[in-house]
């Protein structure tokens, strides 16, 4: 059996600490120098309902999780019933046989090993609280893979930092009892997977949302305003926690309408501002999105998608809002839409979003989804040496004094007009959501209207020439090109590894900038590729239809999934093979 890689999953009832337990396991693996990708699934409930947390850890870099499970920690019977089919041959289940008597025959899987551990009894022995079965299971898990117990206990200490001292000690003791139980019975002997401790550079373990928050802070976002909505809320939590450390003002106002309007107000006053929400909240923001465009006010909006329509599946994932963000709000106006695919993209593209918003004085939308927003991935510490702050054309006080008549919306060649911000003498103007002339004064004149529309779009033509090209992963000459956007990046990259093992050459064109659209590169791919497939986590292949709109090319092979769950690499691998 193969070593150096593990897929571990814990399942149980919501409200029993599955998330924290999974995170501790993931973090311990990351601290050991392994590459980790994790993913949690939970229903829209606080107590009751089924929660799982799956951690994949390997020596090599991993980009997504996998469908199979090597070691399943079942805190209840339901976990076994639901997930036994996912177990890889030779896999194991950790469960409490005292509570849930089971046999291999009864399970219907004779190729997996049942490891009954008295989780409840050990939890009670450790300090008496039932909830500590989680920690017992954690200790048992690390015993199975021959992992360093100290690594685990140090992470427990860090993650529970701030809790009562005895709580921490009880949890460590519970983990120790679980660990010792497995070791004393030699249970790990016939479980073939071992995770080594790898030295080397320390990596971060963070989610797409956390990387986005870090990017915003680094970019100089000083005003963050958002109304809670899954899966965007963790950005709010991160920003609020850093409020005093980085001198930010973070506001949770009455609704999403207030959020975006406040962000626009701050942008108008010269501060970098951001808001984040999911589709439902963004629906409420659309009117103000147009206001930002009309007043040419920089603002960054993060849309963390979840399945709709309406409240849809509140805690699941989908890429169903691309067309919506591209067309949101009435009237014709340009906006940037950027789709990061992993935590690194989230960090660097968020910084870019702030630069673009100020450079082009318009709204910039970052589009994520639950899978990217909430999955943790190990990442090298971000390299901030190349990060630049581009505040665009902002008149200095001296420049303004020299100007006879300041025209906030001056017709320029690029369409970008230099800004002034309130408090600057000589920069006085009124921003308005109504059509206006070069000074900002209301105008319904047909020539002015036409010229203003052209000016706003001229900025975008300029942007089309300046934005980076989409990234091509893999060799140029291939049998199949996979196109995707957003969080499918990870599963696609993993699927490429699987295809490569079968000797199939594939590459992957990741479309990060969706608006403005990289027409030329995408058109070229149609010339050079034998076969193109598109992978999208939605029903109607929204990017494929945009590609058709922009290039006239129809993508025949569409790999789509819209059951509220993300792709597994094997899903993509199998479907690509069917196409070949």
């Amino acid at each position: 059996m193969e070593n150096n890689s593990l897929s571990w999953k814990i399942g149980g009832e919501a409200g029993y600490g599955i998330m924290t337990t999974g995170f501790i396991f993931a973090k311990a693996c990351s601290r050991a120098g392994l590459h980790v990708f994790d993913h949690a699934e939970y229903p829209s409930l606080i107590r009751g309902g089924h929660n799982t947390y799956q951690v994949r850890a390997e020596v090599e870099e991993v980009f997504s999780h996998v469908k199979h499970v090597d070691l399943l920690v079942a805190l209840n019977k339901e976990t076994i019933d639901r997930h036994k089919e996912e177990l890889a041959p030779g896999g194991g289940i950790i469960y409490d046989g005292g509570k849930t008597p089971l046999s291999e025959e009864g399970l219907g899987r004779e190729d997996v090993k049942l490891n009954s551990i008295p989780l409840l009894r050990l939890a009670e022995e450790s300090g008496g609280r039932r909830i500590m079965i989680n920690s017992v299971a954690l200790g048992a898990s690390v015993a199975f893979i021959n992992f360093d117990f100290e690594m685990l206990s140090s992470v427990i200490r860090d993650v529970y930092r701030g809790k009562a001292k005895e709580t921490i000690e009880f949890n460590i003791k519970a983990a120790r009892l679980g660990y010792n139980y497995v070791k004393s019975k030699g249970m790990e002997e016939d479980f073939g997977r071992r995770l080594p401790k790898v030295g080397g550079k320390k990596r971060m373990l963070l989610t797409g949302n956390e990387a986005t928050g870090l990017g915003a802070i680094k970019a100089g976002c000083k005003f963050y305003v958002a109304y809670p909505m899954t899966p965007a809320s963790s950005i709010l939590h991160l920003m609020a926690a850093q409020e005093r450390n980085f001198s930010l003002v973070v506001k949770h106002p009455e609704d999403e309408i207030a959020s975006i309007n406040m962000a626009i107000g701050a942008g108008f006053a010269g501060v970098r501002a951001m808001t984040a929400t999911s589709g439902g909240g963004f629906s409420l923001m659309t009117e103000a999105l147009g206001l930002a465009a009309m007043t040419e006010t920089p603002v960054v909006i993060v849309v963390c998608q979840r399945p709709g329509p309406s409240t849809g599946l509140a805690t699941r994932t989908e890429q169903g809002d691309l067309k919506f963000v591209l067309h949101a709000s009435h009237g014709d106006f340009p906006r940037f839409v950027i789709a990061p695919g992993d935590v690194e993209d989230c960090f660097y593209k968020t910084i870019e979003a702030f630069n673009l918003a100020e450079r082009y004085q318009c709204p910039v939308i970052l589009i994520l989804d639950k899978f990217l927003s909430e999955s943790h991935k190990t990442a090298e510490k971000f390299d901030v040496s190349g990060v630049k702050t581009d505040r665009g054309l902002l008149f200095s006080d001296e420049e303004l004094e020299r100007i006879e008549e300041f025209k906030r919306y001056e017709f320029t060649e690029t369409g970008i007009s230099p800004r002034a911000i309130p408090s600057q003498r000589g920069g006085i103007f009124t921003a308005t959501g109504n059509e206006h002339d070069e000074t900002g004064y209301l105008s319904e004149d047909k020539t002015v209207r036409t010229k203003m529309m052209d000016k706003r779009f001229r900025k975008f033509e300029q942007a089309e020439r300046e934005i980076p090209e989409p990234k091509l992963f893999g060799p140029k000459e291939v049998e199949v090109t996979i196109i995707g956007w957003g969080s499918t990046k990870g599963p696609i990259r993993e699927a490429m590894k699987l295809l490569d093992r079968d000797g199939i050459k594939a590459n992957f064109l990741q479309i990060i900038y969706i608006s403005p659209f990289p027409k030329n590169t995408v058109s070229e791919i149609f010339e050079t590729s034998k076969r193109i497939v598109i992978v999208e986590n939605n029903k109607t292949a929204q990017l494929a239809s945009l590609i058709k709109e922009k290039t006239g090319k129809e993508i025949e092979h569409k790999i789509l999934k819209y059951d509220g769950r993300q792709f597994f690499p094997t899903d993509i691998y199998q479907r690509v093979k069917e196409v070949l």
């Binding site: 990351s30 601290r31 320390k202 971060m204 373990l205 963070l206 870090l214 802070i217 680094k218 970019a219 100089g220 000083k222 005003f223 850093q242 409020e243 005093r244 450390n245 001198s247 003002v249 506001k251 106002p253 009455e254 609704d255 309408i257 207030a258 959020s259 309007n261 406040m262 962000a263 626009i264 107000g265 701050a266 108008f268 006053a269 010269g270 501060v271 970098r272 501002a273 009117e287 206001l291 007043t295 510490k381 971000f382 702050t389 911000i421 309130p422 408090s423 003498r425 000589g426 920069g427 006085i428 103007f429 009124t430 921003a431 308005t432 959501g433 109504n434 000074t439 004064y441 209301l442």
Partner: protein
């Protein structure tokens, strides 16, 4: 020093002749002059409606936004730069209809914002439909057989929403109104100035005459502006006599006062070029 002439813009208000907004416009400009505010440090925010065009006709910075949203936009700007003098202007439909949620929250927030509501008890710009402050029974294009609901009482609502400066002016009393605006801007915290502003085109009931027969000034009655309970009782007076003036004032820390992040310098003055996130990244290891 700023003079009235400095506050002139290229455009001229296009309100109907006799519109109550003219007096509010003059009062606002006079208040800016009296307060010796420098126009480049003042921003006037507005929503949508006849009165919401105001920022275009006062030569300060301005933001004429969307219907019902002047307060959130003003809030963002005020938090971005707490050195600015922030004034918001809008109609009763704008503030008490579509924007009422923001209105209530802005008051309990107590940011240093002055909010002037030009209350003509009707929708002007959309040509005369009922507004949230229209009297019960008032007939309009959208309520041809008369409004069924009771009107909103902005003063009572403001008291209940913890506003710290609550007043009512009347368009015909320009000097009085100017003073209310001056005091409202000077007040540290959220200041509401609800202005009885007859719409000469669409409101044939609540006219200048109708108000003139009823209004009286609170300050001429030995009224105590610090008694919240008394203010609440006063706010219920409408049909026979209508009080104008300051209903209630309270000194309470502003929202900005509670933010150490902006105690030394407004956000807009803080450097963003070399933010060091090394320690923050370490937290994720």
């Amino acid at each position: 020093m700023v003079e009235l002439a400095d506050l002139k813009t290229v455009g001229q208000p296009n309100w109907c002749p006799g519109c109550g907004n003219f007096a509010i416009w003059h009062a606002l400009k006079s208040a800016i002059v009296e307060l010796r505010l420098e126009p480049h440090n003042v921003v006037i925010f507005s929503g949508i409606g006849c009165s919401s065009k105001m920022p275009h006709w006062v030569n300060t910075y301005g933001f004429h936004g969307i219907h019902g949203r002047p307060l959130p936009i003003a809030t963002g700007a005020r938090l971005a730069n707490n050195n600015l003098t922030v004034i918001a202007v809008g109609g009763d439909g704008d503030g008490y209809g579509i924007g009422i949620g923001h209105f209530i929250h802005a008051m309990r927030r107590n940011l240093n914002i002055t909010y002037i509501v030009t209350n003509n008890q009707v929708y002007g710009l959309t040509t005369g439909q009922t507004s949230p402050t229209s009297d019960k029974g008032f007939t309009t294009k959208s309520t041809p057989t008369g409004v069924i609901e009771m009107p909103i009482n902005p003063i009572a609502l403001a008291i209940a929403s913890e506003a710290t400066y609550i007043s009512r002016g009347f368009s015909k009393e320009m000097k009085h109104l100017t003073k209310l605006i001056v005091d409202g801007v000077r007040h540290e915290g959220f200041a509401l100035i609800d202005v009885l502003q007859p719409c000469v085109t669409f409101n044939r009931k609540n006219t200048y005459e109708w108000f003139s027969e009823r209004v009286y000034k609170l300050e001429e009655t030995g009224y105590d502006v610090t008694n919240k309970q008394a203010a609440f009782l006063k706010s219920l007076e409408w049909n026979g006599r209508i009080p104008i003036g300051l209903f209630y004032r309270e000194i309470r820390p502003t929202y900005e006062d509670e933010l150490p992040q902006i105690a030394e310098a407004p956000l807009v003055r803080q450097r963003i070029e070399e933010i060091n996130i090394t320690a923050l990244m370490d937290e994720f290891v």
